[in-house]
Amino acid sequence: MNPPPGTDMFVHDSTGIDRVGPGEVRLLLELASYAYHARDRAAPLFTLEATSLSAHQRQLVAILGANASGKSTLLRLMAGALAPLSGRVQLDGFEVSKLDPRTRAQRIALVQQESLLLFPVRVWEYVMQGRHPYGRGLRFETEEDAKVVESALAQVGALHLKPRWMHEISGGEKQRVVLARALAQQPLLLLLDEPTLHLDIGAQVDLLRQLRWLAEANRYTVVVVTHELNLAAEFADHVVLMHRGKSLRVGSPAEVYDRDLLEQVFGAALEVETGADGTPRVRVRGRLPSQA
């Protein structure tokens, strides 16, 4: 059986346990492209060239690249906020940009960098917003909604914050609550735009470990935009390396972490080592006087 182009990319698992055919691909991007225009007929300000990738449930995909390389555009295509200029972006066979907002929010949750709050909101109210796509009319909260909110908060270890105000909790706590709201959407696809941005290294490791666990426990497909090369290598099944609106390489961290490629993308002298378990490590190649 010949899979359509682009779908076979991630179908390789040495153990064979999780081996799934192309029919069970959950997230599929097939030559999806996009261009931002300032005005309708002006030359595009930014172009995302045709990108293909696919992912199954329980997989974690990391999108890497320098600033303005098209990472967020790619994520917004996956979220259905943008319709591709050409190609396809599908979730379980449905074109995501064509789903109505309500159905889309039941299947895709997006965690963005900044969330602006105009009026004070309690943590549980905020997480309850994730239940919005499941209600009708005035959306009086049901017992089920309350249970989902509790379990979402419990999953991110923030149940104790439930009665607190959003503006009173710390940045790290807020990060977890925002994640809990996405979990309350009970999505199939969980997208995160630079979730590690303002976290210290300990919190970053915690978060990625958590995402890994959530992908497993809730059968999510998780896509993370991040700058943390080593964390991505540690936790991601697949990485997408973006450079100037182009996906240079898609594959396992070991396949993508090529020294020349990374140096080209990040414009710094780097070194890639491979650990005993096959996980690549990126190090800055510096001339340290004491070692010279």
Binding site: D100, F119, W124, G130, H132, D145, P163
Partner: protein
């Protein structure tokens, strides 16, 4: 911190309505001709029971033909302007939004003035057109780099309001044989002249517009965090914005065409309600409607009595109460 249930919502709204009824009774009693509580109770009781009237007919005249219509008009105007304010606040994601500050009231007033001389049913329609044009203008001017900027928006509103007021003044002085003092009074907000349109029709339109905004209450809670975020949480953003834009403009036009430009109610009332019951739009919309009615009935009672037998424009009273609240909110946002 319990979730909102239909019962809790009903209790809150019921309580607010009870307060409104007490205030209305108080306002019925208040005025140049003193009417005792007992007489008022008897009048109302007999009117409701449909019995013969032993009290002098002037009392009936005063209560049912003078005071009651004016109070009903206050209820209409207060509820409309307050809900319009709450609607614009969500639409523009700005707690300082108010139909008066944004120039929407001036747009409606200009529309109404341009329709002077036309059949009276056209006045609210012309006001509606003016309101829509004004808020569209402010919305477009208030964008910077494709984003709504809070302060640019407010400035755009204030400038639009000044420009439209200048146009109104120009028209007032050039139009022949107009009662300029009456119009100046009307521009400040005036409930003394009765509208030629049946009150029943006005109330119906108001209830439909408030109802339309209320159907989006749960969506508005999310729209406050930004359009992108609301979209990803399942809100049909363009539809919700259109509903709120049309309904809030209609409510403003309704209020302006019967009472002129009464300012700051749209900011004062939703703010007080938020302090009392929180910022959930599912509670905010109905309580703001009733709260707005309470505030304008009270303000009009003050306007009638504070300098009796002369009247103050009710807009002067709401501005005196509302402008400090506006400044307070502005300071708090700046800090």
């Amino acid at each position: 911190m319990q979730p909102l249930t239909a019962k809790r919502l009903g209790l809150i709204c019921g309580g607010m309505v009870a307060v409104l009824i007490v205030i209305i009774l108080f306002a019925l009693k208040l005025g140049a001709v003193p009417i005792s509580v007992a007489d008022l109770a008897m009048l109302l009781f007999r009117r409701i029971a449909g019995a013969e009237e032993p009290l002098p007919t002037e009392y009936q005249m005063i209560v049912f033909n003078i005071r009651l219509p004016r109070i009903l008009l206050s209820v209409l105007v207060g509820a409309s302007l307050s809900v319009a304010g709450a609607g614009f606040q969500a639409l523009l994601r700005n707690p300082l939004a108010d139909p008066y500050v944004l120039g929407v009231s001036s747009g409606a007033a200009l529309g109404a003035i341009l329709a002077l001389g036309a059949p009276s049913l056209l006045t609210p329609l012309a006001a509606f057109g003016g309101a829509l044009a004004a808020i569209a203008c402010v919305y477009l001017l208030g964008r910077r780099g494709g984003q709504l900027d809070s302060y640019t928006l407010l400035l755009a509103g204030i400038i639009t309001a000044s420009f439209l007021s200048a146009l109104i003044l120009f028209l007032m002085t050039t139009l022949p044989s107009r009662d300029t003092r009456g119009m100046a009074f009307w521009l400040m907000g005036d409930l003394s002249s009765s509208s030629p349109i049946p009150a029943g029709l006005l109330f119906l339109v108001m209830l439909v517009a408030i109802g339309a905004i209320y159907t989006t209450a749960a969506d508005l809670n999310l729209l406050l965090s930004g359009e992108q975020e609301a979209l990803h949480l399942g809100v049909d953003v363009p539809r919700v914005k259109l509903v709120v834009y049309l309904s809030a403009s209609l409510l403003t036009a309704l209020a302006v065409s019967v009472s002129g430009a009464i300012g700051f109610v749209g900011i004062l009332v939703p703010h007080i309600i938020r302090l009392l019951f929180g910022s959930d739009y599912r509670v905010l919309i109905p309580t703001t409607a009733v709260g707005g009615a309470i505030v304008i009935v009270l303000a009009d009672a003050l306007a009638r009595t504070v300098n009796a037998p002369n009247e103050l424009p009710v807009g002067a009273i709401t501005a005196m109460a509302g402008a400090p609240v506006f400044l307070y909110l502005l300071r708090r946002r700046l800090s």
